[in-house]
């Protein structure tokens, strides 16, 4: 249960971490987006106010300019009109010509004080109109429809104040049926009393067109109001925001509604919601300077101002998410690649480490200590081209014989090292009980051929040097011919046979040679003869032989050092392409001074064993050996002799057995010689002393006991005789 909980926690921990990270990134994205939104919005708001203010000012100037033009036109004709007061008959034509010259105005006229002219109507009001670019002059408007101008502001105000006056907008029902406003001024006659009011009509539909010609935002609209809030101009009734016109006017006129002043201006702003769709809107408004004190208002809608911002925010959000996703992916790839790099680096280090271990194992498999035998001196060298290689050499002493081998597996590196390790181990294992190089080679070949699907092969040379006699048995499996160096170097006579691993049932031939005292036997691999310099020239056997000749008589170590130095000089800076291995064995038998030498001969009859025992006892006593050692010698010789009696000759055949005892200051030796069939007791398998009574075989103990009791036993077949030598160091 605990395990499940802890595993779940672990899992959650991983998941939680990821979730937290995603949440964090999401929050960050939202935060950035929101901050940007509000920052941009406040900028836009400021911008909106600035733009709205500038629009209002622009529109006001436009209106003002229009009004000024109107005023200017009228004022410029004041003197002309004054002159006309004297000649009422001329007024109509004069008005007509002025209106004709100023097509922007709807009409121009004079409203005389009632009864100013005696011969005219009481209400005399001559007026020229521009109706569809056609100028009409009317003198009797007052008569029509009871038009009493004396009640209208355009007339009463200038009369009352003596100053110009802009009328509130009104519809000219009488003539043009247009929405107009009239600018009127008092007109004084020559006696400087007000005779009439001159008025000029301005069409307001023109104003509306001009004011709503262009806007900062498509849905925005502009309103023109009188000082007391009556509508003067509005956009066409098909305007999409038509329904908000009245609302805006109502808000402007309702002084209880909260209004705000745009910073650094005299422009007011009121925020409201559209009746149509609840859209947030604001109305900016402003009184024009001077007379008339009209108001210009502009209405803007938030969605047009900030709608883009919302879209923009969404897009930025999307971009940021994409960006983070991309960043996340890049980081992920980076870490993944990095991990791969780290892993491949770790792998490389591991392989390197393993190769180093393999190299150590391989080099530890090679014999290092020089052999402990006075009859030989050995030197060896192995220069691997890589960490591990396919070359080996080996040597060991068993039963007074030097077993040695040199080999080269095909190929390089790990595969050949593995094959060579197998071969090497087989040599060690088989050589521990088999003394015949030919048979050792045969058995190794058999084992190497088994399952050799990779077609690897090994050139191998095995030699067994009998140390007392200098006789060398050897067997070559396709390896480079070794050299025997006396005064000069010569090639050993070898049959090439086949390399190991090529043909399972190949019969290897064994050969023999006799080493003379102080001969050096030199073995090498093709890494020596085929060592190449930078011009791809090989060192070659000739150079090896001439080096050997030049070094005749030196110690094996000196010989190898000198040859190796020569090779290095030859090769120079060229890369070593193959393992280079050399093994040099110098045979130098010691001359011995015997302090005792006895001999006895018997026939192959067990009854003679007691005679031999007595003889051994006598020898030992002569050498003043202890009873215990004497007993051991007796037992060893008896077992060896019994072995010969039992196996050397066919049953019923009588044969001779001679036993020779020699003693030096160093050792006591018994040499047992018979003429029977070739039989090497040294190849007998060891006895497993750890087995139980039931498992123990009866027999096989004799030679085992001899090995235990003596320091060395040595068997050699010499001239058709079995020679078994037992040595006990003294």
């Amino acid at each position: 249960m605990k395990k499940i909980v802890s595993q779940t926690k672990k899992l959650l921990k991983g998941r939680t971490w990821l979730s937290l990270m995603i949440l964090g990134v999401a929050l960050l994205v939202e935060l950035i987006s929101a901050a940007q939104y509000y920052y941009t919005k406040s900028i836009l708001e400021e911008e909106l106010e600035t733009r709205a203010a500038s629009e209002i000012v622009t529109k006001a100037i436009l209106v003002k300019g229009m009004l000024n033009t109107t005023e200017g036109v009228l004022n410029s004709h004041v003197d002309d009109l004054k002159q006309l007061i004297k000649e009422p008959q001329e007024i109509g034509d004069a008005l007509e010509s002025i209106v004709e010259a100023n097509p922007y105005f709807n009409g121009l006229g004079l409203a005389f004080k009632p009864g100013y002219y005696d011969d005219e109507d009481d209400l005399f009001e001559p007026w020229a109109f521009n109706i569809n670019n056609e100028i009409k002059v009317m003198k009797d408007i007052a008569k029509r429809g009871g038009h009493d101008y004396t009640t209208l502001n355009f007339y009463t105000q200038p009369i009352a104040t003596g100053k110009p006056y802009w009328s509130d907008p009104y519809i000219d029902y009488d003539v043009t049926k247009k929405f107009i406003t009239t600018y009127s001024i008092p007109l004084r006659d020559s006696r400087d009393s007000i005779a009439a009011v001159a008025g000029i009509d301005l069409s307001l539909s023109w104003l509306s067109d001009t004011l709503n010609n262009r806007h900062i935002y498509p849905s925005s609209f502009c309103l023109l109001l009188t000082d007391d809030g009556k509508l003067i101009s509005q956009p066409a009734s098909n305007h999409p925001r038509h329904c908000d016109f009245d609302d805006a006017i109502r808000l402007i006129n309702d002084s209880t509604v909260h209004r705000r002043v745009v910073t650094n201006t005299k422009i007011n702003v009121i925020e409201f919601k559209s009746e149509k769709d609840g859209e947030d809107a604001c109305v900016f408004f402003h009184h024009m300077k001077g007379n008339p004190h009209w108001q210009v208002a502009v209405v803007c809608y938030d969605n047009e101002v900030f709608g883009q911002l919302d879209k923009m925010r969404f897009r930025i959000l999307l971009l940021m998410i994409l960006g983070f996703a991309l960043l996340g992916y890049i980081i992920y790839r980076f870490f993944k690649n990095n991990n791969q790099l780290i892993r491949s680096e770790t792998d490389r280090q591991r392989i390197e480490g393993e190769l180093q271990v393999a190299q150590r194992i391989q080099s530890e498999m090679l014999p290092h200590a020089s052999v402990d035998h006075s009859n030989i001196d050995i030197a060896s060298t192995l220069v691997a081209a890589r960490e591990v290689g396919g070359d080996i050499y080996d040597y060991f002493i068993r039963d007074d014989k030097l077993f040695f081998a040199i080999g080269d597996a095909s190929g390089k590196g790990v595969p050949s090292a593995l094959v060579m390790s197998v071969t090497h181990s087989l040599f060690r294992a088989i050589g521990s009980r088999e003394s015949n190089p030919m048979r050792i080679m045969q058995l190794i070949n058999h084992a190497v051929c088994q399952g050799n699907d990779s077609s690897m092969f090994v050139t191998f040379f095995i030699g067994v040097l009998d140390l007392p006699t200098g006789r060398m048995h050897y067997c070559n499996a396709g390896h480079d011919t070794p050299l025997i160096i006396s005064d000069t170097a010569s090639k050993l006579n070898v049959k090439p046979n086949l390399p190991l691993g090529v043909m399972e049932d190949w019969q290897y031939d064994g050969q023999e040679a006799q080493l003379q005292p102080n001969n050096i036997f030199l073995l090498y691999t093709d890494g020596l003869t085929e060592a190449m310099n930078s011009t791809r020239q090989q060192f070659g056997l000739t150079r090896v032989i001439s080096q050997a000749n030049a070094n005749a008589g030196v110690s094996p170590q000196r010989l190898l050092d000198n040859v190796l130095r020569e090779v290095h000089t030859f090769v120079g800076d060229a890369e070593q392409s193959d393992d280079l291995t050399m093994l040099a064995i110098k045979y130098m038998p010691t001359t011995e001074t015997f302090i005792l030498s006895r001999e006895i001969s018997i026939t192959n009859d067990l009854r003679h064993v007691e005679t031999v025992n007595d003889w051994v006892e006598e020898v030992c006593h002569k050498l003043s050996m202890s009873e215990s050692n004497t007993s051991s010698m007796k037992l060893a010789v008896e077992e060896a002799v019994v072995n010969v009696i039992n196996y050397a000759y066919p049953a019923g055949e009588t044969g001779d057995i001679s036993i020779e005892a020699t003693a030096t200051a160093m050792a006591l030796k018994f040499k047992i010689t018979d003429s029977g069939v070739s039989f090497a007791p040294t190849d007998a398998p060891d006895v497993d002393t750890s087995l139980s009574a039931e498992e123990r075989r009866i027999g096989g103990l004799g030679i085992f006991l001899v090995r235990q009791l003596m320091d060395t036993i040595n068997y050699e077949r010499i001239d058709g005789k079995n020679v078994l030598t037992l040595t006990k160091l003294r």
Partner: protein, 100 residues
């Protein structure tokens, strides 16, 4: 080589005197036949006066031991001298027998 077989306290006791070498082994093996044939008694081999033993002697000992074990009996060797005991050690026979 002299051999003598007797019974003592329900055990079969063989006494060996002299040198048990290869030449003597054939005769000794014959004389110790009762030990091979024994099925109902533990065996004691008195080696007090045995001076020497060769591998053929060890073989006889091992043969007797194998038979005795088949019938669930022990073989005990007594009075071995140091040289002989050493031979038993070398061959691992020291692990097979009882010694007193």
């Amino acid at each position: 080589m002299e051999t003598k077989i007797s019974e003592l306290d329900g055990k079969l006791v063989a006494t060996l005197n002299g040198q048990l070498d290869t030449a003597a082994a054939v005769q000794v093996e014959k004389e110790l036949k009762p030990l091979y044939d024994n099925e109902d008694k533990d065996i004691v081999i008195d080696c007090e006066n045995m001076e020497y033993i060769a591998s053929s002697g060890l073989r006889i000992m091992l043969g007797i031991l194998k038979k005795a074990k088949q019938h669930g009996h022990t073989v005990t060797l007594t009075g071995l001298n140091d040289d002989i005991k050493n031979v038993f050690k070398m061959t691992g026979f020291i692990n097979l027998f009882n010694f007193e």
